[in-house]
Amino acid sequence: MSSRELDRLIRKVPQEREAFRRFFEILESNTSTQPKYVTVNRLFDKLEPNSVYGLTQVITALLEAGLLEQVIRIQSPKTGGVIRDFNSIVEIPSTIHDKYSDSEIDVTPENMGVFYRLPTKQETSSHKWIIWNISKNSKKS
């Protein structure tokens, strides 16, 4: 993903420019060497988009840019342990074997987690010039 492509994605959602700026601020201050996972709710709080639809537009752009990775995780309702990760909601079966309770469970939104993986410090530094460029442009405009 080049700086220009990312810039194009951001320009598609001009009303959420501030949310993008906040995201780049988070990346700039990220010192973690381990992957960090955040929930939708956490992103909503941190990025402060104008609406839920605005948040979907920002996340879609960041996923396309490779700055976020989405993980759909089915967790045990008993222990919260990870049963299995999926790439798409279409792949999720209606029931799944919960190894923690050794039983078949129904998959519902309650035991399905959606997480977004933020880039680590090293990954951020490899994207640094892109982030710096976009961050600078969004401040300017």
């Binding site: 009303q15 501030e18 929930t39 939708v40 709710n41 909503f44 709080d45 402060e48 104008n50 609406s51 839920v52 639809y53 605005g54 948040l55 979907t56 996340i59 879609t60 996923l63 989405q70 759909i72 798409s88 909601i89 279409v90 999720i92 209606s94 129904d106 998959v107 519902t108 939104p109 309650e110 399905m112 987690g113 959606v114 401040k139 405009s141």
Partner: protein, 309 residues
Amino acid sequence: MDNLEYFKKFQEELKNLPQDQIISVAQRRLTEIQDPELRRIVEDQILILIKISDVAAAECEHVVVLIHGIMSYAVWEDKVEKIIREKLGLSVYQLRYAWFDLFRFLCPFYTRKIPIERVLKELKDIRDRHETSRISVICHSFGTFIISEILKKNRNIKLHHAVFCGSVVKEEYDWANLECCPGGRIINDCGNRDYWPIIADRISFIYGPSGTFGFTSTRVKNRYHDTSHDDYFNDEFIKRYWVSVLHDGSIEEAPARIEPNLLLKILAHTPGKTIAVGFIALIMLYLASIKLSDNYFIIRVWMRILIGI
């Protein structure tokens, strides 16, 4: 159908779906979409909608604070509160700092400190009572100045939307470098027949005509209306321009901008402060040119007029 329509459709559908059917219905909706690019976008939206239900509820926890201007008992606040409660069901607080007269408004020293501190104290109190809510403000005239001063000096007052009307804040107010800039929209409704911000700007060093000519910062959406200083508080205006911003941050555009009339333009370029200072200097020169011994009486009269001796 574009992705916004899919979003709205699924959002509506989600309200009536039992928990155990949500995922299967989402899967069905996705398989109906042929375009892989659109399917990917809609899938992201659906996942967020499924998981954000708590936040969506929290999003409704939105508090609106109203702040009035000088020489006002803020009768308009009742009307704005009623409409916002009816249309959006939000909590509304009317912040008051009692009658504030023109002398204290124009006085260059200390007089503004009291209302600013009072509003700040109340805002902090609202913040404490609504810790997880978003706080938006609608301010009129001197109320805009109070909020601008509070934002300049306080990092812990985090606002969501800020709606200004009849603003007397300086046009070049540095929104971009505020440590705690409002996170949502910053809207400035200007009146092309509003001469009060210009007068305030012309005869003081601390106010500006942003309520007539708008802010220079790109962070602010200036909307220009054919209104005077108090014309914002009618049902139609409130419903059309303010309710939409508070609802989802969407901005209703104002009609095409009308040039302020010639009188306002002349007023805006009148060097009011220079004229006042020049006038005083001329008097002083006149007095200095008079022989003190011959005109003692005249000097006494002038001194009495100017400094009350």
